[in-house]
Symmetry: C2
């Protein structure tokens, strides 16, 4: 514990949440948001409104394993106590994994250098019950992972991602740098019993993408397009043409929110 | 499809379910049971009451990855159609993974030679949100896996498990043969994003046990005792003394239902 009473303390929070039933990261007029839950819990601890900034503004239904948030408190409180107090106030679907004291200038959104998202697709006839809230069910046909992988790689690099942005977005630039864009099969053996057996019922296909920033619905529209490529509706080099078109209707459908997970934020 | 219309068909079903909110396998006067859901779905398909036998009568809140059930239908229906029709009628927490035609004499409970259960303990300060319905939270101290493993091994073999049976049970014999009784750490790397990150937040400790039969609450009271051994409240050789006592109060607490998973049934 550095500093005496009266000194402001800035903290970096690492959070995991099950987005099922939440309206997303950002506080909304109605519904339960992660930001709202955190700010309500902090208000009881600090006796005042404590604004919380999140690195990624996840949409309704999107999950997180490593969301990062920043906030500044007036109260003299150490990191371990803050973590325990927040987890006491928060509902079990939202957990604070870690709290670390940081420099007062730290801001989770402005200082984030890159983020990793994973999109999870269950490819098979029957969705394992314990995975049902975390995967998009694409029953048939068997996805061609090789062409999906080729398509995913074509998204790496500095591109204008306007074609993968939801209509009506308002940002200064639609250029983003994708550092890594890969498709892999999840190994189910170590899943702690969640996926079930040897799974003749299907495969968990994961699309994992790291970028310096994301446009609205960018991962979900890339995932939707990659699934259509895996279903051989488009050839994988179609992705380059979609990027060049800069037109949203050229890309595939926006995959549903509940298959998306914010995995990690890098600073 | 063998046989013509009018021939009775017996099927073996392999089922997975999320036991959260269910009253267990067996039909009860109130609440939703797996047996009740299946029988209601089958009644609409067969136009009559179709009794379903389950290999393991899992308690309220207990999950399954590989429950097995048997039933006989009058209607001329093939296995794949029956699986699709049942999954159409059942809610997403209950899924039929596989349907196979079997000999008319097959009975899921009487023909089961052994069953494997897994008990899942989250040992750490913070429970990952996506695992919260499937683990017992044992926050501290760090469980000593080596003494738990020694304790688990002491349960293998043919023993009188009366000390691990819930009070008020009524069975012919309390002798059971435990074929395998092991403690292991789940590998979280391949968990398809469910457990989260590298998990400084904790470890998933699994107790997996295979036996030719189980007494009521037997796995849960063995898991509760093993956790107390892992917390160094008892030495591991205490298990032998508990078995010999044949007295339920000698064993540890009954671990909660939602950490238990019926993994597999062998015939």
């Amino acid at each position: 514990m550095n500093g005496g009473a009266g000194t402001m303390r800035t903290f970096r929070l690492t959070l995991a949440y099950d987005g099922t039933g939440l309206v997303g990261w950002q506080r909304q007029p109605t519904g339960t948001s992660v930001q709202g839950l955190l700010e309500d819990a902090l208000a009881t601890l600090d006796g005042r409104v404590v604004p919380v900034a999140g690195a990624g503004r996840t949409d309704a239904g999107v999950h997180a394993l490593g969301q990062v948030a920043s906030l500044t408190m007036l109260r003299d409180i150490d990191a371990a106590t803050l973590r325990r107090a927040l987890n006491f106030h928060l509902p079990p679907p939202v957990r604070v994994l870690d709290v670390a004291p940081v420099d007062a200038s730290f801001h989770a959104r402005f200082n984030a250098r890159s983020k990793t998202y994973r999109y999870q697709v269950w490819n098979g006839h029957v969705v394992p019950p314990m995975l049902r809230s975390y995967v998009w069910h694409v029953a048939a046909p068997d996805l061609d992972l090789e062409v999906m992988q080729r398509g995913a790689r074509a998204l790496e690099g500095l591109h204008d991602f306007a074609a993968f942005q939801s209509v009506g977005s308002d940002v200064l630039t639609t250029e983003r740098r994708v550092l890594s864009s890969r498709v892999h099969l999840a190994d189910m053996s170590g899943s702690g019993g969640m996926a079930g057996l040897d799974s003749s019922a299907g495969r968990l296909v994961c699309y994992e993408v790291t970028a310096d920033g994301f446009l609205r619905h960018m991962v979900r529209s890339m995932a939707g397009t990659l699934v259509e490529i895996g279903q051989r509706r488009y050839p994988p080099d179609r992705l380059t043409a979609i990027l060049e078109s800069k037109q949203r209707p050229q890309a595939g459908r926006t995959a549903p929110a509940h298959g998306l997970v914010l995995v990690k934020v890098m600073f």
